[in-house]
């Protein structure tokens, strides 16, 4: 049984679409304490001996299994840093769902810094889904600083979907990945900032092996007085292909700074970057209004579609 209160359950619903105990392996963390854990025959979750986090061991050949590791904070002023390491066995095919929800009704800042390291075995396939969400009307800020490090062996592939749509005041995301021969990485980031929120996304991808490939795509919406920074650097050290794209809608008094960069160290490294920042096109609003939507409804539909 999970030891969660109603607020915590609501947060879990937001970040992991979970309304009941999930099938497969899971580890629920609430206000710094273990609220429920399940290991399976193929996926073992163990606490680190120093108490700083968990290790997740996925046996080679594990197919179509999932791991959920949601984290919720509902005590104001609580701050933590957690280290989670994923050892994804050779030729396995798994789904990993992480995410953090913060509800802060008090005056103290609440902060969760999750450091996730992935060791993706040869030929393994992993899909990683991470959602961040904040709620509560306290004056304390909700802060999330996620770090991911991905080490990919030959012929492995990883798809990462990172989403932060609502309620997080400050985020500094750092992602690092290195890819060996034939490894493939796809990153999809979806971000929306409101109020005076500040979000930084930092991606460094090193394509070390022949025929390795990475595609890092960020779509974001910056509203009100928020400020977003997107830094993406792809380094090609072998015949490889890399693509990075930052596509942002800017509204109100927001600011978006996109700094894509490419570093080719091999004559056969094919690297591309794209960045586009702009407001919602007037003709898009006109079209949806001509279907009977109000201007505000049209704006919502355009943003929802863009962040899908």
């Amino acid at each position: 049984m999970l030891k969660l209160d109603e607020i915590q359950k609501r947060l879990i619903g937001e970040i992991a679409d979970l309304h009941t105990v999930p099938e497969g392996a899971y580890n629920f963390r609430a206000n710094g304490e273990l609220a429920g854990r399940n290991s399976t025959a193929n996926i073992e979750i163990v606490s680190k001996t120093d108490g700083s986090g968990i290790d997740i061991h996925i046996k080679p050949g594990t197919k179509n299994e999932s791991v959920h590791i949601p984290v919720v904070l509902s005590n104001t002023g609580y701050k933590e840093t957690v280290y989670n390491d994923f050892y994804i066995g050779e030729d396995s095919d798994v789904l990993i769902v992480a995410g953090c929800g913060i509800d802060n009704c008090g005056a103290g800042d609440s902060q969760h810094d999750g450091v996730h390291r992935f060791f993706v075995g040869r030929g393994a396939k992993a899909r990683y889904v991470e959602k961040h969400y904040g709620s509560g009307d306290g004056s304390g800020r909700r802060i999330l600083n996620p770090v991911t490090e991905v080490y990919m062996e030959e012929d492995s592939s990883m798809e990462m979907e990172m989403e932060q749509i609502k309620g997080v005041d400050s985020t500094e995301r750092k992602n690092y990945a290195e890819l060996k021969k034939n490894a493939r990485l796809v990153v999809k980031e979806r971000l929306m900032t409101h109020g005076k929120q500040h979000a930084v996304s930092d991606y460094v991808v090193e394509l070390k092996g022949e025929s390795s490939a990475a595609d890092v795509v960020s779509r974001s919406v910056a509203r009100d007085d928020s400020f977003q920074t997107f830094n993406a650097r792809i380094t090609g050290e072998a015949p490889c292909s890399g693509h990075t794209e930052c596509d942002a809608i800017i509204m109100d008094n927001a600011r978006v700074l996109a700094v894509p960069s490419l570093d080719a160290k091999d004559v056969d490294a094919a690297l591309v970057h794209e960045a586009a920042i702009g407001k919602i096109a007037g003709e898009q609003l006109t079209k949806l209004m001509s279907l009977g939507l109000t201007e505000k409804e049209a704006e919502e539909q355009i943003i929802n579609g863009f962040l899908k």
Partner: protein
């Protein structure tokens, strides 16, 4: 159904006032298939935008079913039963064809209902419902999706701004068939099409020629020989055939 009374539309260009439409008055009755034609730059597209509320007239009034809609915005006119197909359909990142059809119909649409509208405009529905309405679609595909949104809306007045613009000849043949079908299925509604195409003019109940910002001719298909003669308002491509 629709009445434009003494519509004038002016823009200022380099400090000088330019009249795009000059005291235009016209009516569109119910159950009519009306084609507005005329030379480029004559004010046809502006007229279409004024009907939808995308632009506001400098002077004059617009009535829909007897009510003055001149001061209503696009949303209000859409809700009263006016729809508009853009000459250059708008692209949206992330919004899927089925989303657009759902918004157009104003209700939850099943996949099979969405597919029906797409089949009507000659698109293999299964391939398109989940496609994003973005730059991956060709001009012809977008144009047909645009028409499908009007079918999904099913309003009393549908205005099409040059549906043939930017589509290839093969798509054009299909397009004509769609309009012929609409013409047959017209019930209590009316269709206004801005077009240069003889094939579309041929199925009109009424042809209105706009030139230099004024209604220069008005009549039935008896105007065709004159319009498709030496001073024909048709495309250069058509003339070469």
């Amino acid at each position: 159904m629709l009445e434009l009374k003494n519509i004038t539309y002016e823009v200022s260009e380099n400090g000088a006032v330019k009249k795009i439409l000059d005291d235009v008055s016209l009516t569109v009755e119910s159950r009519r298939f009306v084609v507005i034609t005329g030379p480029n730059g004559g004010g046809k597209s502006t007229l279409a935008k004024l009907i939808m509320g995308v632009e506001k007239p400098t002077s004059g009034r617009i009535y829909f079913d007897g009510a003055d809609i001149t001061d209503l915005d696009i949303t209000a006119r859409a809700r009263l039963g006016i729809s508009f197909a853009f000459q250059q359909p708008v692209r949206f990142k992330g919004i899927q064809v089925k989303d657009l059809l759902r918004m157009a119909s104003g209700r939850e649409l099943s996949v099979s209902e969405a597919c029906e509208y797409l089949s009507e405009v000659g698109l293999c529905a299964r391939d398109y419902v989940d496609r994003e309405v973005n730059a991956s679609l060709s001009g012809g595909e977008l144009k047909r999706i645009e028409i499908a949104t009007l079918l999904a809306r099913n309003t009393r007045l549908s205005v099409f701004d040059e549906p043939e613009a930017g589509i290839d000849l093969w798509s054009f043949q299909n397009l004509i068939r769609i309009f012929e079908k609409m013409r047959e299925g017209i019930k209590d509604s009316s269709i206004v099409i801005i077009s240069h195409q003889e094939r579309i003019l041929q199925i009109a109940d009424e042809i209105i020629v706009i030139a230099d910002g004024k209604v220069s001719r008005r009549g039935g298909t008896e105007l065709l020989p004159e319009l498709t003669g030496a001073s024909a308002p048709e495309s250069a491509c058509e003339k070469l055939q």
